[in-house]
């Protein structure tokens, strides 16, 4: 008898529980303060960029950082609705679009849209200009000049048993699988399981040599001398080289990938006007130039180019010569099925 009554009481309480969300919603107030919530890569903006914007426009910026694109994507897909502006890589744009996560930036209303170099207008990954190019760079090899007898020149150097336990690879399916495909001369358009088996084999062969799969903390390891050779993104390494001048960057002779990170406006943003104002501000030549100087990535902003430090502007590894430019390719846009195959290979490599 007693247990039955207990259970009934318990049920009464259980009925009340679902009322909680309604109660919480009632507590939520409309957000009226002028603010833009900006979600960006770590170390990917100038020190004064945002304070200057706040000073000029009277809009404060809540700035949040991520160190991994897939994680950022997972967070936004899971419903992190708080953000207004986010930086996403070119290859992610179709994914964001197909899941209806972003709103098109009305590029016609931006004063400074014309500052962008023509080759970054209506790109293959975003032909209708839903997003605005922010910075671009390359994936290449970082190495420690003092610790390596010979300058690396090829992706194969990252597979050299001589460097066992001194190598780090980006913890990123796009870059690792793409490089393996490039070395095997497999086109990124493939859906042949046999090709993916070969890619898996090549990456697994490398795994015993790899000390870290990491997309951000490996930079500290490079500076500290924990590792001497790493797959890296250009500007990240140039930033790290400020702390350790022995670090240097090479574009592998096989050619490599370039990518463009873009500003995207998240669907459901409650601060559209001010978000657009911030995007327009980031497109100003002085602003874009000073960001490029500070993060050491190339700017797609043609008007900003003359304002970039001479050393950076003349560095063919940052602004490649037309000839190397020909060797750089954008990542192929994968359809969901291919994307699944890439992820599967990468998951198998990580797990084994």
């Amino acid at each position: 008898m007693m247990t039955d009554a207990t259970r009934r009481d318990f049920l009464k309480i259980a009925v009340l529980a679902p009322l909680m969300p309604a109660l919480m919603a009632a507590c939520r107030r409309a957000d009226t303060r002028r603010v833009v919530n900006f979600y960006n890569w770590s170390n990917y903006i100038g020190k004064d960029t945002l304070p200057e914007f706040t000073r000029r426009a009277g809009v404060s910026v809540r700035y949040d950082l991520f160190a991994d694109e897939e994680e950022m994507f997972a967070k936004i897909r899971a419903g992190a609705r708080g953000y207004d502006l986010v930086v996403i890589g070119d290859y992610l744009i179709p994914r964001f679009k197909s899941l209806n996560l972003i709103d098109a930036v009305p590029s016609g209303t931006l004063k400074n849209m014309g500052n962008l170099a023509p080759r970054f207008r209506r790109p293959s990954y975003d032909p209708d200009e839903t997003t605005i190019p922010y910075l671009w760079g390359t994936t290449g090899i970082a190495y420690n000049r003092r610790k390596l007898a010979k300058q690396p020149s090829s992706w194969w150097d990252l597979w050299d048993p001589k460097y066992k336990d001194r190598i780090s690879m980006l913890d990123n399916v796009r870059d690792c699988v793409a490089v393996a495909m490039q070395l095997l001369r497999i086109p990124q358009t493939t859906r042949d399981p046999e090709d993916f088996r070969k890619v898996r084999e090549l990456l697994l062969r490398q795994k015993p040599l790899v000390r870290q799969y990491s997309s951000s903390s490996y930079l500290n390891s490079l500076v500290a001398g924990e590792i001497d050779l790493a797959m890296t993104w250009s500007g990240d390494l140039f930033q790290a080289a400020r702390d350790n001048p022995d670090l240097d960057y090479v574009l592998p002779k096989e050619g490599t990938y370039m990518w463009v990170d873009c500003l995207a406006m998240l669907r459901g943003s409650r601060h559209r006007e001010d978000t657009l104002r911030l995007i327009d501000y980031l497109l100003e030549p002085e602003v874009a130039g000073s960001i490029s100087n500070s993060v050491r990535y190339a700017t797609p902003n043609a008007k900003a180019f003359p304002l970039v430090e001479k050393a950076l502007r003349r560095d063919p590894r940052v602004y490649p010569t037309p000839q190397t430019m020909g060797q750089l390719q954008l990542h192929h846009i994968l359809d969901p099925e291919q994307s699944e195959m890439w992820n599967q290979v990468w998951a198998d490599v990580k797990v084994s």
Binding site: E71, S98, V210, V351
Partner: protein
């Protein structure tokens, strides 16, 4: 007021006192029962393009979880969890013994000393360990300075650094239950053993140790169980070769965008843990 309180606390209507359960029950339902049910449902779903969740229910994710390629991950996780439990027991038992029998007026200070590292965020603690264990870190510098080694050795990103991180973090989980059960042993029992002619070792072996067993088991469970799901330690202090079950699960949610599979793995882990605890309780009740 008094009448209302006494009504609430039972008195003539004992059922009313169940209302006291309401806040905790609501909490458990909203933050445990509902999410667990959601997780179970999610584990039956299908992973669609770009990680969309398709609600065509099947047991497919569970079938995938038994793929032999995950066996090394499972064994590695069991190894690290078991090793951590054993090491924390070996380190923690003497410590707890000292705390309850020998520490005297230093006891409280020592207990606080034990808890302080536990109050720091694990993230901060592990990053500090990185600074200590690195190739150009404090430990290598010290070893070089005193001539134990001639060139820096790899300490970070080895099984040693993972184990060290786990033992460091879980030691209080072991020591506190041990201390609790040692503290409860009536000192007269030990004295009685001495009076009956037992030496210190025999008294410990025949009286103290058996009476502290509940603490040993509780401490081991509190260490072993969370260790099975730990991913932060391996993520920060382990290299690519120390991929544990926790990393496998967190990667399904963060990297592979395969939430249903991650949910299935989580459900399996939870089932094993709850099942294990239930068996332990049954054994404990009978004993």
């Amino acid at each position: 007021m008094d009448r209302a309180l006494s009504w609430l606390l039972g008195g003539r209507r004992p059922l009313a006192s169940h209302l006291l359960l309401a806040p905790a029950a609501a909490w458990m339902i909203v933050f445990l029962v509902l999410p667990a049910a959601g997780l179970l449902l999610l584990s039956l779903a299908k992973n669609g393009p770009y990680g969309e969740i398709l609600w065509t229910l099947s047991l497919n994710n569970y079938r995938r979880a038994f793929d032999p390629k995950y066996l090394p991950v499972l064994l590695r996780t069991l190894g690290f969890a078991g090793g951590t439990t054993l090491l924390t027991l070996l380190l923690g038992y003497p410590l707890a013994y000292f705390l309850s029998f020998r520490a005297g007026r230093w006891r409280n200070a020592m207990l606080i000393g034990l808890m302080v590292p536990f109050w720091t965020s694990a993230l901060v603690a592990f990053y500090s360990w990185m600074i200590i264990l690195g190739k150009e870190g404090l430990l290598n510098a010290a070893l070089l300075r005193f001539g134990f080694i001639s060139a820096p050795i790899s300490i970070l990103y080895t099984s040693f650094s993972v184990l060290l991180g786990l033992v460091y973090f879980y030691l209080p989980f072991m020591v506190l239950p041990l201390y609790g059960s040692l503290e409860k042993i009536p000192r007269q029992y030990v004295e009685a053993a001495y009076d009956l002619g037992a030496d210190r070792w025999t008294a410990f072996r025949k009286v103290t140790l058996p009476l502290s067993l509940p603490g040993v088991i509780a401490g081991s469970l509190l260490t072993f169980v969370p260790c099975l799901g730990d991913f932060l330690t391996a993520e920060i202090l382990g290299g690519p070769r120390y991929y544990l079950l926790g990393n496998l699960i967190s990667n399904q949610f963060l990297m592979a965008q395969d939430w249903p599979f991650g949910a299935a793995l989580t459900c399996l882990l939870l089932t094993c843990l709850v099942g294990g605890l239930w068996l332990y309780r049954r054994w404990d009740d009978q004993a």
